[in-house]
Amino acid sequence: MIAKPVISAREAAALIQPGSVVHIGGFLGCGSPDAIIAALCEAHIGELTIVCNDTAIYDPKTGRTTGLAPLILNHLVRKVITSHIGTNAETQKLMSSGEIEVELVPQGTLAERIRAAGFGLGGILTPTGAGTEVEQGKHVFEVNSRKYLLELPLPGDVAIIKAKKGDRAGNLVYAKTARNFNPIMAPACSLVIAEVEELVEIGTIDPDHVHTPSIFVDYLVTA
């Protein structure tokens, strides 16, 4: 197996072009690549379109943030494709002012659209959203007398994801609910940077326990 470059979070940020479509793993900050997010803020890589489950947590009273919330607070985001912005008041504020465009996608549809992009599907039919605003502008099909919406793939330029453990080849293992969107984002993006808590030697992860095969990972960041 081929070892992947192990780089710093700052070097990772430098690989990401302003204006990129960036998939970011995590669920309200659980399982987010926090070091790379911090480096993106520091390098001020802006005009990003981010694909993410949610815009994480920002509490205006305490100033506490989780996950990718700092990208929103630092005005680095032009568009968000996400299922939920309700725990980050700043996203809604910037949406209202017109600075950020928000495309709301049901969470399961978001997951399937990302998977479809990585796995070479031209789209999937889901019952979710039928009869709601989500249906607007979409092809509707009836299969076995149930209505389904055709949802299209959602690829990205870059995925920044977070794993508990990675080997030097890029095989990744996630911990608990920190897995969430991370495994499906890796195949969907041209450039994949994985932040790992623990970096181990090739051959030390049981091949039956690998959650993300090494071939999906281009760079490793230890954090």
């Binding site: 669920f27 399982g31 949610d54 989780t66 939920h84 399961g108 709601t132 508990k164 608990k176 499906i184």
Partner: protein
């Protein structure tokens, strides 16, 4: 009739009685989370959390929080022996595939056609649907858990939802702090009246069409 005081605990208490051992249940954020406190000891339900686990356990003891183990509200939780973790595509495969027996979720409005609105108020609040649209479209049974009235005093059980829908024609049951309703598709059928309320008072205070079930019961919460 006594003065109405909102009572979320009674809603949770009644919903907890829906389940039998082995049911897979997803409890939404907020009011539905309370349901977990009332599940009878002799019934073992399997709680699913859409961020990627089944076998959701109780809150951890203080200091026992694990940053990698949270529920769909971002709160620290635990996992029971025999539970397991999976990614978001699998989690929503479980949900959309009909493998969740009951989803319990809060509403802004629910109507007599089984429509449910709970994800945005245009121009005012747009949190997003999160996993709610999938949960409502995919679960075998959908239970709307809601206080009977808005803060304004208007009933949340509508003839027709006015807010953007989370899902169309998917709600099966509504449990409020006044009673338990089955959605027939053209009315709410009142199956249980919670003491001290009466069917007449509930009908008089509900915007939607309410019919009385033939086997209507009076339930006296413990």
């Amino acid at each position: 009739m006594p003065e109405y005081i909102e009572n979320k605990e009674i809603i949770a208490q009644r919903i907890a009685r829906f389940f039998k051992t082995g049911d897979v249940v997803n409890l939404g954020i907020g009011l539905p989370t309370l349901v977990g406190n009332y599940i009878p000891k002799e019934v073992t339900v399997i709680l699913q959390s859409e961020n990627g686990l089944i076998g959701l356990g109780p809150e951890p003891a203080p200091g026992g929080e694990d940053k990698d183990l949270t529920n769909a509200g971002g709160k620290a939780v635990t996992i029971l022996p025999g539970g397991c973790f999976f990614d978001s595509a699998t989690s929503f495969g479980i949900i959309r595939g009909g493998h969740v027996d009951y989803t319990v979720l809060g509403v802004l409005e629910v109507d007599q056609e089984g429509n449910l609105a709970n994800y945005k108020i245009p121009g005012k609040m747009v949190p997003g649907m999160g996993g709610a649209m999938d949960l409502v479209a995919g679960s075998r049974h959908v239970i709307a858990a809601t206080t009977h009235f808005e803060k304004s005093g208007a009933s949340k059980l509508k003839r027709r939802c006015s807010l953007p829908l989370t899902a169309a024609h998917e709600v099966d049951y509504v449990v409020t702090d006044l009673g338990f309703f089955v959605v027939s598709g053209h009315s709410f059928i009142l199956k249980e009246v919670f003491a001290p309320w009466t069917a007449e008072w509930i009908i008089a205070h509900t915007e939607a069409d309410v019919e009385l079930a033939e086997d209507i019961l009076l339930w006296e919460p413990a």
